[in-house]
Symmetry: C2
Subunit: 599 residues, 2 copies
């Protein structure tokens, strides 16, 4: 196995003061940081104090950045730039860092002249060399004359100075569709620095895309494994360093963001074959889902045909079952969401837990009674517990002997984990890297109280949906976060809906307008449409199959249930119908609030 590279993170990735950022980077286990100039400028700590702080935290300062608009300028501007460089080298000496990032110029002063650029960079490299420092030159994707890494490398080669090399930034290269393979031809010791960022593919100019929408590796659509592979193959031995400008991360808790950043690099290293992690064991399905709620959830489950089959040996927790669907109703304790836990059946629970721990997923402490199973449990980014179960988890429950006739539910189809605003991107990376689930593309849709984003993470019979607001919700929305739910699979949704309604299940009524629209859009057989309408069952279809589903009213403050039937190869989750459900929940729940003073 090749040597494992060091890790670094640019302070600009994180929110807070410089002191907050350094503490967060160290706590997440980074080896070093790129120090963003503005973070230093606003800090009350002197460079020498920052140096000591970093040393105490075990962090190196791997890069000082960015130095802008340096090269290929008229003589008077060049003189001012060298003056500026001298001052910055003084600061770097105090900081104890030896590499400065120079971004290709965007200045209107800049001249399209590679020889001039090389000559002026050589002058800067001379100054650097006198201080034992070096200059890493990077092509910005929107540089005025130099916007590709091969061009930057040509200028560096022409300058031929030992203290001048290139900095490669995955975003600047991949966003423009440049081929990263020729990186292999750059001598590894001339690649002075490597900055990594992923991104979704967005139809906008590269500058706002870069400034607002970068993501950590594995969260976006770039192939960072291939890219970084080329850089390592060239012989680069510096740190893998994250430089991610993202509007959401900039204002999120840096301690959580740094942990997710580290997870992204660990997963990247694993994919590069430079880090050996316990492989993700196969997950065979949903062992159970836990809802943390008031006793109302049990009554709703009973009306859906569930039986209360077990009582926890030591806790106020009930097990409800129907077919292979198992729901644990937890009436005690605090929880982050209405769904307190998802329990996944693993072929090797202990290995699943070891992998999770190796990928920065906190393993949760758990009080365990003498006869109770040793369930491994890790915390998802939003605080949801993820249990990893073998076959013995049921031993925690004393059988009640209760059985129920059932109403056609055969198992858990999926668990819908609506996410807090700050955690949408990292949730998908978490479930993918830690448990080997495959994320689907992000769907955006308009709901009554604002736009939502939704995606699934799935493998085989394990399916989770993740949903979050596009704009963090304020006081007008009925809830900061939409409720979560557990969706049960059945083989005949129309029959199940009729049976459950007859048994008094609090099923949502779906407006006639919905069925009028369905009739206009799709040429469904009239009897089919009438049955859907009569039973308030929603409908979706795609090229692979059909989807019938219906919902209960809220069964607690922030949780409800769904029953779904998949026909053919339909793989979706009926997202197009979600706004109908939201409006129906709203109609049952909320009076319109008074106008509030804005915060």
């Amino acid at each position: 196995m090749p040597p494992e590279p060091r890790t670094a993170i640019a302070t600009v990735c994180l929110s807070g003061t410089l002191e907050d950022k350094l503490a967060a980077a160290a706590a997440a286990g980074f080896d070093g940081v790129e120090l963003f100039e503005n973070d230093l400028v606003v800090s009350p700590s002197s460079p020498a104090e920052i140096r000591r702080r970093c040393a105490d935290l075990g962090l190196s300062i791997d890069l000082y950045q960015p130095f802008r608009d340096f090269e290929a300028v008229p003589p008077d501007v060049h003189a001012a730039n060298l003056r500026r460089a001298r001052h910055k080298f003084d600061v770097m000496a105090e900081l104890g860092t030896d590499t400065v990032l120079v971004c290709s110029s965007v200045s209107p002063d800049a001249i399209d002249d590679d020889e001039l650029a090389a000559e002026q960079l050589r002058a800067m490299a001379d100054l650097a060399q006198q201080r034992g420092m070096r200059v890493a030159y990077e092509a910005l994707a929107w540089g005025r004359h130099v916007s590709g890494y091969e061009h930057a490398w040509r200028i560096v080669r022409r300058a031929a100075h030992p203290a001048l090399g290139v900095c490669l930034d995955s975003f600047h290269i991949l966003s423009k569709g440049h081929d990263p393979a020729p990186i292999r031809a750059i001598p590894g010791d001339k690649i002075f620095f490597l900055q990594l960022a992923d991104a979704p593919k967005l139809p906008m100019d590269v500058l706002p895309w870069s400034r607002h929408h970068r993501l950590f590796p594995g969260q976006g659509e770039f192939d960072l494994t291939a890219f970084t592979g080329h850089v390592l193959a060239a012989g680069y031995r510096g740190p893998l360093s994250l430089e991610v400008f993202n509007d959401v991360f900039r204002q999120a808790d840096p301690r959580l963001a740094a942990r997710d950043a580290m997870r992204s690099l660990l997963a990247l290293k694993e994919s590069l074959g430079v880090l050996d992690l316990p492989a993700a064991p196969a997950l065979t399905g949903h062992a159970f889902a836990e809802v943390v709620t008031d006793p109302g959830a049990g009554r709703v489950l009973a009306s859906l045909g569930f039986a209360r089959t077990g009582l926890h040996r030591t806790k106020p927790v009930e097990l409800w079952e129907q077919g292979e669907a198992r729901v644990v109703v937890n009436e005690g304790g605090a929880a982050h969401g209405a769904v307190g836990a998802v329990a996944l059946a693993s072929t090797d629970p202990a290995r699943s837990a070891r992998r999770a721990e190796a990928l920065c997923a906190p393993v949760l402490p758990r009080a365990r009674g003498p006869r109770e199973a040793d369930l491994a449990s890790v915390a998802a980014p939003d605080g949801t517990q993820v249990f990893l179960c073998g076959d013995d988890w049921r031993d925690d429950f004393v059988p009640t002997g209760e059985t129920a006739g059932g109403a056609g539910i055969v198992g858990i189809d999926h668990v819908a984990l609506t996410q807090p605003f700050d955690h949408f991107e990292e949730a998908a990376l978490f479930y993918r890297s830690v448990f080997g689930l495959t994320p689907s593309p992000v769907t955006e849709f308009a709901a009554p109280f604002g736009l939502l984003r939704s995606r699934a993470v799935a493998a085989g019979e394990v399916r989770l949906t993740l949903e979050a607001a596009v704009v963090r919700r304020g006081e007008w929305a009925p809830a900061v976060r939409e409720p979560q739910h557990v969706a049960f699979a059945c083989t005949d949704a129309l029959a199940a809906a009729a049976a459950m309604r007859a048994a008094g299940a609090p099923l949502l009524d779906i407006p006639g307008n919905y069925y009028d629209d369905l009739e206009a859009r799709l040429d469904l057989p009239p009897s089919r449409l009438a049955a859907l309408r009569e039973r308030s069952v929603l409908y979706d279809r795609d090229a692979e199959g059909e989807f019938l589903h219906f919902y209960t009213a809220l069964a607690g403050a922030r949780v409800f249930f769904e029953v779904v039937q998949r026909i053919g190869g339909y793989r979706g989750f009926g997202v197009a119908n979600a706004p109908v459900r939201m409006a129906a929940h709203r109609a049952r729940r909320h009076a319109v609030p008074p106008v509030k003073t804005p915060a």
Copy 2:
């Protein structure tokens, strides 16, 4: 004066259920609505019930929208489309609306054949005509084959059907840079509908730009007055109808958004010369600023050289003065912000108030004692009171006889009104339309706890700055909203800072790193730099002049003061230095909070 057009708003502009939206539109005084199909589909009310609701609210339903992917398709798709149209005409009949919007097709089924498009639209118009309805055909900017309004008009002309006309949408036309002048050549009675939206000019594809970033007229960069002028000149006599897709408005309180939407149309009508409003009187300066806070603010003002010159006759309110700077410290009552009120000196306060009222700015009720001045006061979108003053407002205060030596402050330079997340766009429109202030372009900058947007609205000596978070702040940020402040003008900031510090003023200490950076960037005379550094005075310059400024610590929960000196023609507000100030405030104020459970 030409006839005043009716007003309408698309329900998709507003947040909530259809019921919420209709109530908000009616309360804001709209004459009608465009009914967005999805709002109807999710509503528990039948079309007939919606019709009655609208009638009760005094709203007409002016348009049913949108019908997508209709024209220029193969015969089997055309048959399905006509079937869909019949169903929608049924719904429209129940709603009592006679016009449907057909957007130019984006379907891969669509064929680039104007004759086929005309023929199929004619068939739809035939169906409509039989029901006494009509079809308004609109070119989407991203339509597959039809993406310009002149092309849509050619197809409509070719179809030559009395029940087929065009719908014009300002966004689709102006976003593509199409010349709107030829609209004048379209017969007015063939323009069946007019949709208005403004937008900032953004470097992205037109589809996401349209779906996420539209604004109400006057909030963006399009010339809606010229555009609408062409449409009225053509003879269009339908409503001016807003169709604004905006991520923020979609989740904001619809009652506030609808009011701002109406203000945008009133201002537009005034600019078109179809509505006569009382003209905005000249504003001659800041009469005073009111801070609502604890007694600490008075002590800070005293340390800045202010004297407490008056006590309010009936309220726990003090007047503090220095030069022409007047601050009212209000220790009682609730307020929306730390700055409770800005008081602007008007050449005709009564007319200012009449204009504000005509532009949907709520005139605030005010308890007035027998000897007190009758100040007009209106509420800004964020709840800040705006007083409009003549010369007699001082009569409310009993003079104390106190005087102070002063420390060089000569007046109020500006008041910084940080805005709640939802109110940034509308605040600029409010101050522009109601008071005739001119907005400056929006600046975006990175601050320790996330990106911020900032702009000024100013006229002569009246200057307000508006600032809001780009992403609504969550639990990590020290405050949902940055504090507000009053900035005082002086003629020698270095002398003032020294005098005030000697008098015990709690001035912010600015880090040495800031001055090291200033030295590197700008070739300031060493003595000048040393003086700035010694006195913690910040510096900015532009092509027109220089700006020296310094800040106090927080003088209350959410308010502080600034002292500024303008040299030459500098017109900015030192925004580049704001992050330095924020980090300094943070250093004085906050311990790092524990990691919180996300909401």
